[in-house]
Symmetry: C2
Subunit: 290 residues, 2 copies
């Protein structure tokens, strides 16, 4: 029998996942209480069914797809509903959270009586041309993997609870960290009269970095506000991943990247930085890609 | 007339540059007082002529190619000799130093009476198959550019004194920073049971990072001790490059990378880390490249 899916929340990623599932014939429920107009519109376009929060507990699977800072709060908010339900849905946390945050969420959910899946989404939201990988870990991972029959690409990891979140942290750390690093050095080169020369040298010896400058930075700018807390999760994750607890390298690096994205995401002060970046980015390259 | 070149010191990069110049018929002098056995051997192989420090002042060009932390000390050591010489060589600082360190070196050299060139070397030492770019800035840059007729690839920047060092900082920051970032995340993935999964995801979505893992990390390990102070120069450079003086992002990130390279370069404690990395790197890929 087809599983019923509860999905919180219909943000850009959540709604696109919901849309993919409804396109494949699944019933996908969400709760739109207090949602923004944009979320309401996305939920409508994705054909999600709006139900009260308590009714989400009748689904087979619950997918949590929220900003990292809201992941634990969502589990706390749902816990009383889970407790009151005889057969609550399998709770799948798909968020970019540190393994410590994930462990906290797992405890809240398990104590309430739900089965739990540690998940992590890598790649852009589902679209006509793209499908992200959804990694799943823990003994209940096969429940989430059933969605591979409905248009998603779920891959089970054998590293146990925490390994899917760790994978997401590590991949996002490399990908979004490289964009941060490139942005920092491009700004510094521009301020030092070496912007064009840097582009020339990179085109010669590290052409993939030119791609990151001309496409990755413009793609990042409208998301910087959201990447900022994700960098903090990664800093926390790196601290915890080091058994000696003394590997400050990663924490410091990601505190730096968090500071960059915080600055770029603050619409009250980021104008000057964005204007500097625009003079160093080949907008033609960005436009021709569309 | 062919210029005579004084070169300090015959390290891996310096000796290879000297060798390229002597292969093209130039007289290249160095001073081997107090040099290591390895440097003596490299100088001999490169056909460099050993002369007293004072005699280097008779050359047309002096190339400073030393570790970043020794660049200013070398200028101070040479200053009295420069002062005593009627027509001292054009002093070319080719080191990976911050613009603040470069400005200090320029002041020492100019006050002593030498013309000065701000230079930066990007790429591996000259070899049968490779030639690094040597960027040159300042009004005396054309004097260094003459060496393009003798097997080097010198490119003049129009950004003024400091722009060649800034370019070197920015390029090294991206290149060595990306290797640091990749190393940090690979270690964290390995500790979290997600090492193989990370390799699989990267092979799919960021294949250039697999290249950096399998080739860049093994290449970096024996140089980590040297990259550590370079990361500190980059942290200093980023502070100075920000006119508001409040852009902590870059400084923090490079303090993190410096901590990583310090740890990896410390032969008394780095065994465990290197063993962890070895389990995550495809040594076959490294071997097949040779």
């Amino acid at each position: 029998m087809s599983p019923t899916v509860a999905l919180i929340a219909p943000g850009a990623m959540g709604a696109a996942i919901g849309r993919r599932l409804t396109d494949h014939g699944l019933d996908v429920w969400t709760c739109l209480e207090g949602c923004s107009a944009a979320s309401l519109e996305r939920a409508r376009a994705a054909d999600l069914k709006n139900v009260p929060l308590a009714s989400l507990m009748q689904a087979d699977l619950l997918l949590s797809v929220v900003p990292p800072a809201e992941a634990a709060a969502l589990a706390e908010r749902l816990a009383p509903f889970i407790t009151q339900t005889e057969t609550p849905p399998v709770y799948c946390d798909l968020n970019a959270v540190s393994t410590a945050t994930l462990a906290r969420i797992e405890r809240i959910v398990s104590d309430s009586g739900s089965a739990f899946v540690d998940g992590g989404i890598i790649g852009p939201p589902p679209s006509e041309t793209k499908t992200p990988r959804i990694y799943a870990a823990g003994e209940n991972a096969p429940a989430l993997a059933k969605l591979s029959s409905y248009g998603l690409d779920v891959r089970i990891l054998d590293g146990g609870i925490g390994s899917a979140s760790a994978l997401k942290m590590c991949f996002a750390g490399i990908n979004k960290g490289m964009t941060a690093l490139t942005t920092i050095m491009l700004l510094a080169a521009g301020r030092s009269g070496a912007g064009e020369a840097l582009r020339g040298e990179l085109a010669h010896s590290l052409p993939e970095v030119i791609e990151r400058i001309d496409h990755g930075i413009p793609d990042m700018l409208p998301k910087a506000w959201r990447w900022h807390p994700e960098m903090r999760e990664i800093a926390d994750f790196l601290d915890a991943a080091d058994p000696q607890g003394n590997d400050v390298a990663g924490r410091r690096a990601f505190e730096g990247f968090a500071a960059l994205y915080e600055h770029l995401g603050d619409v009250s002060t980021n104008d000057a930085l964005i204007r500097q970046l625009e003079t160093l980015i080949d907008a033609t390259a960005g436009a021709s890609r569309k």
